[in-house]
Symmetry: D2
Subunit: 368 residues, 4 copies
Amino acid sequence: TDQDWMKLALTLAEATTGQTGSNPMVGAVVINDGRLVGQGAHLRRGEAHAEVHALQMAGERARGGTIYVTLEPCNHHGQTPPCTEAILKTGIQRVVVGSTDPDSRVSGQGIARLQQAGLEVKTHVLQEECNRLNEAYFHHRLTGLPFVTLKMATTLDGKIASHTGDSRWVTNEISRERVHELRDQYQAILVGVQTVIADDPELTTRFKIGGKHPIRIIVDSQLRTPFTAKVIDVSTAPTLICTTEAAMKSEHAEQFQAKGVQLLECGAGNRVDLGLMLQQLGKQGILSLLVEGGGTINGSLLAEHRVQKVIAFIAPKILGGKRSLSAIGDPSPDRMADAIELDQISWEQYGNDLCVTGYVKPTTSDEK
Amino acid sequence: TDQDWMKLALTLAEATTGQTGSNPMVGAVVINDGRLVGQGAHLRRGEAHAEVHALQMAGERARGGTIYVTLEPCNHHGQTPPCTEAILKTGIQRVVVGSTDPDSRVSGQGIARLQQAGLEVKTHVLQEECNRLNEAYFHHRLTGLPFVTLKMATTLDGKIASHTGDSRWVTNEISRERVHELRDQYQAILVGVQTVIADDPELTTRFKIGGKHPIRIIVDSQLRTPFTAKVIDVSTAPTLICTTEAAMKSEHAEQFQAKGVQLLECGAGNRVDLGLMLQQLGKQGILSLLVEGGGTINGSLLAEHRVQKVIAFIAPKILGGKRSLSAIGDPSPDRMADAIELDQISWEQYGNDLCVTGYVKPTTSDEK
Amino acid sequence: TDQDWMKLALTLAEATTGQTGSNPMVGAVVINDGRLVGQGAHLRRGEAHAEVHALQMAGERARGGTIYVTLEPCNHHGQTPPCTEAILKTGIQRVVVGSTDPDSRVSGQGIARLQQAGLEVKTHVLQEECNRLNEAYFHHRLTGLPFVTLKMATTLDGKIASHTGDSRWVTNEISRERVHELRDQYQAILVGVQTVIADDPELTTRFKIGGKHPIRIIVDSQLRTPFTAKVIDVSTAPTLICTTEAAMKSEHAEQFQAKGVQLLECGAGNRVDLGLMLQQLGKQGILSLLVEGGGTINGSLLAEHRVQKVIAFIAPKILGGKRSLSAIGDPSPDRMADAIELDQISWEQYGNDLCVTGYVKPTTSDEK
Amino acid sequence: TDQDWMKLALTLAEATTGQTGSNPMVGAVVINDGRLVGQGAHLRRGEAHAEVHALQMAGERARGGTIYVTLEPCNHHGQTPPCTEAILKTGIQRVVVGSTDPDSRVSGQGIARLQQAGLEVKTHVLQEECNRLNEAYFHHRLTGLPFVTLKMATTLDGKIASHTGDSRWVTNEISRERVHELRDQYQAILVGVQTVIADDPELTTRFKIGGKHPIRIIVDSQLRTPFTAKVIDVSTAPTLICTTEAAMKSEHAEQFQAKGVQLLECGAGNRVDLGLMLQQLGKQGILSLLVEGGGTINGSLLAEHRVQKVIAFIAPKILGGKRSLSAIGDPSPDRMADAIELDQISWEQYGNDLCVTGYVKPTTSDEK
Ligand SMILES: [Zn+2]
Ligand SMILES: [Zn+2]
Ligand SMILES: [Zn+2]
Ligand SMILES: [Zn+2]
């Protein structure tokens, strides 16, 4: 059935998790007379789209067949020629589409082109699964901003470190490995300067085999990042410091740039303007951002409603202590009713740790 | 099979949850020639034991039969005559036991008595389930102390209230109803005086039908509990204030006693000696204690390793804020490795809330 | 909740499976102020009803409480006084009922009596489960006939024995043990005379402990049952031979009766009139009948639509062979569409054997 | 992990079910630095192997990578050049294999070639799943014979038709659709001549879209197949009649051949020698055979232990009747212990029908 073949296309797309960069993950399958004659996935930005691989494998047998694509075929000349033309050339007669393209300017144009040429087009097959697969891509197309996911790793009482800053380890090995998988899947990772000063993290992806390092972004209003910090070494991965107009003019700024660190001016105030920051990151083509703390940057992003998704790892232990560090810093809301609510909750178990995933519910004020 | 009949006895015992007070929940079933001839449960402290009900229903047909009891039959004269004698009188030939009595002074005596009289006795049938059913009773018998369960209800980031003290509501209705079920099951409920001052709670069990109010215990070193506090009204349920030697001599003390509030002297120091407090509560026959905060008392009990079980309700929302209140107060440990670890973890889902239950792992120092 | 307490009452009733004879299985629970104060089940025909046991355990605490009963309380003087009066005496205020009594002459009278006395009555709580528990009892009350269950045990190709009659063993040990459980649960077991001649079965319940032997019924139109047959020995269990008017007058008939075998005249024709037979068995108080073959009697009962339920054990083996014996004999219908259809199908797995249970679907002609 | 990527390769292979003819289904995946760079499946006999498709998609990025293949790569020149050479050319450094090639003459040669060339080879990853996927192919390679699956569709009492031959319908629509899926998956379908005479079936695959017709094989010792039978029309699918030496010489034989029907001489006796028949079908490259009755051919094949797998659809209905037709004909064994036993049993539910699948257990005599 259409659903079975789309499911195969989805499986092909999912197998490319973490490797398509700012491009969406897409899978395609070509069927003729009930038989598989081609299959493909988009492997890497700048390379052939999924449809091209699948049609190439199908060759002559695409004629009269059906192509299943998880995302609406493109209709414009990008780094590759439009897939609609590739499809038309092969004599495909029917196109089954999962997600339509979220970009309102181009959405539906691929489908329209195919229909005008007389092909039968069916849309919205396993649409929810296809949308979810590229949630960051879709969010970026619709808003121009990166999709922001806040990652937390806390004890049962919400603590991330002792008052001395000791945090080795909150969660177990399985959870920590899962964090490296997340880093591999996100285009960029973001931390506040306090985390850099306190922990001097590398913010890289550590896998047994392969894996991509995310772009490392530091929110640092006064350019307090030490020159000796590990993240300043851009030989492993690019680093970007988001700072203020004033700090951009300091001597420090030049020195960072001399080391190959990119600086991004985010407003003329004393503190980085987070809204401006995300707009600029979005323009630079960063679709997905994994926020890994500390509490201050977490708190600000949440309070300004700039977070779309939360992934919380919870270890079954209790640290306690008023001076112990919590995952989320100020602002401190007056009312419990001001808490940020999550929905579409799911739970996973990693050993004895628990991982709660949810999406930030739009508030009334967001809806204005 | 023996397991099937013991399972029925367990079902009968579980049906008495919350109503046996400081007595264990016990179920009994009498079988003769493969047929059910009697069944019973211990319903209320001071009333007939499970065996007696089951044997009474069986009447003459107990002769030659088998009795299944979830807990070793008693062999001493208490409020009722010993069940061993009741069993022997009926001509029962075989006794199948779930848990043996945990009290080392009497453990095995019931079984020994029955064996000496020539009955066949089989033990440890579904023992783990039978032990778990009366975990508080067993803990009290072995240590003389109440079984202490810490209940938490927090946001995903571990907060219980905003900096203004607003906590309406952290968790959803299902979770809150579940808390009232817990209050019904525990003999006593304990809070710190700060909670009384801040929230003025009733600390009663609110069910649609029935339910027992737990004994309300306040830890209050300087007798700061307001006379107008709802918990001071002992017409709904008994109240007990744990305080210090010095405070016992104050005028306040007399006034509380005049209102029918019991005072318990817990040490000569400035603060209530929690170890002494638990010893005295244990001696007063309190087997199970549900601790409901606030952070100070939670933190002290945990740090002194006086908690056996933790039940944490977690709502999928994030409050954030440095001044927001955490579930567990001081002391603030230096190292993450000092966190209290839980094991035998289980998870339950109440709507979108999550409930994590675990038992405090004994630490090396505990084992000395 | 009402459902939880009714579930406990159901558990109590189920524990009496096989021991209430022609009486229904009934469980009762008494609750006061949310607490269990009494529980009971009807243990054996002629003894106290479930309500009586439960109320006796409750004693004074029944007053103002609620009684949960799986079956409408009786309102007539039978072997015991009416339960409605027992309930009224105790001061119970609310009665929750699972099944209403199926007997149209008395149905609802118990409930009406209680309501007239001012009690609150709620019915149909877990009704489906309560009805299913006593499906034979209900069928007998409604039709006057025994509830007939056909048990089959075949190979995957529907064979019960080789052409030589060898049938050791079709199914595995677990399945065969399950058959003995069925015999324990049914009041009577029925076979054709050919099975007696061919296999000389005992038709008793063989358990490790206890178990009831069913009444053994042989359909034997010409009284061909050998005097040496094991089933003729009534010292283990009663035996009843259903035969014809003519055969009743034979010398054989007297000899059987001399041995203590009961004879039942079923019509003046050459063959036993199965409809007449079931009517008479129903009148004798036989509520449930397990038919265990052979093929001839199975075929006749099915074709005459006298079977309510089928329990088919299927072993994963193939015997094959045109002369091998099938489970169901003649008549041989002309069309596949004449097959007897089952619904409410359920499947169970016993080792590698499979057990299919279903209820005979009423045909159009049945509905006239 | 290796298992995850092999699972993807298996998914690709499974998607080709029914379309590779006598070739095995094979899937391949190429990974470099933890990233998917190529994927492919063998689509159709005579076309590129899975490895070739996957390596072609990978292009330059295969160098230094790992290829996952569900079946050991071939090392001989067939219709396509050996895959071992294709792998070596690309600079792949590691090969992960599911099943080794079952053909004892070539087994391990592909692996040996790759190891000699210095590649790291890991075998037996998800081997059981990979073997099961091509069970017919493996059986054929090991024995030279087709893998024989007996399909039955019976009532609960093992009947396939009434005494008049009426069999519309035993099973429900879902089961019957599933049979057409089986026909699509098997290379050939076999029936006895009696079935052709009685039912005049087409023996084709009827799908909504696509599907392959199996080769239709009739066992017909005396060439009694009517010239008007639907299976004689070879315009839809090829037909093959297995007959005897004597019948081959008859005038009929020529007439069949003139119509395009292939005749296969299977022994000089009165009846088709089934062993000889299977040997010849195996030599003709028929790997998988679905036997669809009637009873006579089913019985003979089973009795001669020529069946490997049984798929039994069971409808929850009872036909009864001595003259009704059973699924399996003669021979009629003397003892129940002579029944053919199945193991590795699995059950599936299609609506109210049940489908039991099992593999014929080797008997002692088979093992000689
Ligand atoms: Zn494209
Ligand atoms: Zn006792
Ligand atoms: Zn009654
Ligand atoms: Zn190859």
